[in-house]
């Protein structure tokens, strides 16, 4: 590694090996005065999939477009997401300026067809983005997921042309932050027990009820909301202009602190009938379809966390010495590293493999449930292994491991608890066996 200063500090005849990415990161970290320069992430930064052979590269980057997307997001994550991650975690706030950069880069409409203003890419592309962003800031990535998967992607597939024209341009640009409301204080995994109701009244629907743990609730302008019309789940888009709609204060949380969450409160909330998504009572189908890409991308986030933690522990174990040798010479440490690598690769392969069969035209609940069921504990376990290998350094805020460790837990809960995935998989397998 060659120490490189700011551009103005360089002499006229300086050494040329000055890859921008590296010193860009160093300068930003120095300027913000917040996060210390991370010493642990330079091993694999240049190759997004440095461990991949050519064969598995075809799984992770199936086309040239996917590869370019990965390179772009990885570079964006190193240059712009990483330097702010620790400070956003401390604040417990979404970095809105950075969020809008996702719009500039065209990432907010990744799965939306080109003619409707998106990039027209598939679930593998969505997985790539979540994987790369989560290496540096899973909390920020969660805000991206709530916006682009739970709102934009979900909304697109159940909205009419008029509804798309009203909501897509400003959510794809990032001008409006968006989210989705499903969970309620009394209904989580048992989603059909939701009690939020919608009643038709002339040219509008009147909504009553409360949604909770809603990511982007604080900053969001519009939300895709599920409510029951005559007992049947129905989807609506509700925005801040609707009378009777409000959000609670920020709900503070353990991890994923780069995004916020709140309650969505509907008190005789009047939603124009034009905001009904699809037909009355058709909400369950939309919900089930969208849960698949949600679970898949949450699995990808866990893979990102595991990848980064593995990278950090490998480097630390080589640099840190005990009893006159690097600690990676000890079998106890090798077990953490070896198992972390094997489980990370397994989670990655399962997630990318399932991604090939997730899309608007095909149902793959069992695949997406399996990916998240497997990957979520991997992120948590690898973060835990990294912290153990790094000891005090892993536990302290100087390094990102403790943040990733806190972030990882959410993936066993949000978007379906691991218990929900076990239930669904058993149900799907039993049904298939009975055929």
């Amino acid at each position: 590694m060659i120490a490189i200063g700011t551009p103005s500090a360089l002499g006229a005849g300086e050494i040329a090996r000055a890859a921008w990415a590296r010193w860009g990161r160093v300068i930003s970290a120095r300027r913000s005065g917040a996060a210390p320069v991370d010493r642990g992430d330079q091993v694999m930064v240049s190759g997004a999939m440095s461990t991949a052979s050519q064969g598995s590269d075809a799984l992770f980057n199936p086309t040239e477009e996917h590869r370019l997307l990965r390179d772009m997001v990885a570079e964006f994550a190193r240059r712009e997401v990483d330097p702010q991650a620790a400070a956003s975690d401390v604040k417990g706030a979404l970095n809105l300026e950075l969020f809008r950069r996702l719009g500039d880069l065209g990432l907010l409409g990744v799965t939306i067809p080109e003619q409707d203003g998106g990039a027209g890419l598939d679930a593998v592309a969505a997985v790539i983005i979540h994987h790369e962003l989560s290496k540096y800031d899973p909390g920020f990535c969660l805000a991206y997921l709530a916006h682009s998967m739970l709102f934009v992607n979900n909304f697109y597939h159940c909205a009419s042309a008029e509804q798309r024209a009203r909501y897509l341009p400003r959510t794809i640009s990032g001008e409006w932050v968006a989210g989705m409301g499903m969970t309620e204080p009394g209904a989580g995994t048992d989603v059909l027990a939701m009690t939020t109701t919608a009643t038709r009244d002339g040219g509008s629907f009147v909504l009553n009820g409360t949604k909770t743990y809603i990511t982007n609730g604080c900053e969001g302008y519009c939300f895709l909301v599920y409510a029951k019309v005559d007992g049947k789940i129905t989807a609506f888009v509700v925005d801040r202009e609707c009378a009777g709609f409000s959000t609670s204060n920020h709900i503070d949380k353990l991890g994923m602190r780069g995004s916020t969450m709140s309650e969505l409160i509907f008190e005789d909330c009047r939603v124009p009938a034009a905001n009904l998504l699809g037909a009355e009572g058709s909400g369950l189908a939309h919900m089930m379809r969208n849960l698949e890409i949600e679970r898949l991308t949450l699995a990808a986030m866990s893979v990102g966390i595991a990848d980064r933690c593995l990278e950090l522990m490998v480097r630390h174990a080589e640099e840190r010495r005990a009893f006159q040798q690097p600690i990676n010479r000890f079998g106890q440490i090798q077990r953490y590293i070896g198992e972390a690598y094997a489980m990370t690769e397994a989670a990655k392969c399962l997630t990318y493999n399932v991604a090939r069969d997730v899309g608007p035209a095909q149902r793959n609940r069992i695949g997406s449930d399996a990916a998240k069921l497997f990957a979520a504990p991997v992120g948590k376990t690898v973060a835990d292994y990294a912290m153990q290998v790094m000891g005090g350094a892993g536990y302290c805020r100087e390094y990102p491991v403790e943040r990733l460790w806190r972030d990882a837990k959410l993936l066993e809960i949000g978007g379906g608890t691991i218990e929900a995935h076990q239930k669904n998989i058993t149900k799907d397998l039993t049904r298939a066996a009975a055929r």
């Binding site: 006229a12 040329a16 890859a19 921008w20 390179d71």
Partner: protein, 272 residues
Amino acid sequence: MKILVTLKRIPNPDEPLKFTVGGLDYSSHKWVPNAFDEYAVEAALRLAEKVGAPDRLAEVIVLSICPQGQRQHLIQFLGMGADRAIVVDADEDALDTGTVAKAIAAVYKREGCDLLIAGKLSQDNEGNQIAQRVAGILGAPQACFAATVEWDRGQRALIVSREVDDGVEVKRIPLPAVVSVDLRIVLPTSVQNGATPANHAYKEGARLASLRGITLAKKKPFQVLSLGDLGLGGPANERAVAVKAPPARKAGQIVGSVDDLFDKLTKEAKVL
């Protein structure tokens, strides 16, 4: 106005080198664009665009001379905003600096370009010859190691500042011309074109290709030429015969006291 930008693909300079008999083994390296060439594209795009408006003041053409099947790096630059790409198919062993310079000059003439922007050197061999040799072949004015560029569109000229050992030299060169860029060219206000507001601060560094840019890149013109199309060919005049690792550093000694140190410096090292 047509701006030609040259791009070289190089083995990732952040990966460790593997020495073999008589050279380097790059077989497991990831190939990446030369960083200074990325800065050259960024400089060209800043010259060509008017921020906040769809206007384009220049066409940006990216050119790379590389083996068949190794053209992926060009797509990234089309994704960043370059208008079209030209690739000259050539095997590495057919190339030497002279041939590369002649090929670039031939494309420049064939396209009727007004400006060549190149990185000041490539990070792999640090040759620092291409821009100068092309300028020589074209008989065009040149400014090397540009830290800032200002385009005087009325007078068809560039005002280029260069950071040299004893200060900053400012040159004015008429177009058509050849410029090679230093890394400071991608600081927020290093490039001025008289159309984008002078106080507009770009993000430092070469821009990222947006996702829309990446999807559009496939549809942009991509022309493939051979050295023969440019009237060139034949064996290279230069070739690398060996690359050797620098000798390993000898182990140091730990001394017990200042007296020992003084003794060794005077008697062994004989530097005092």
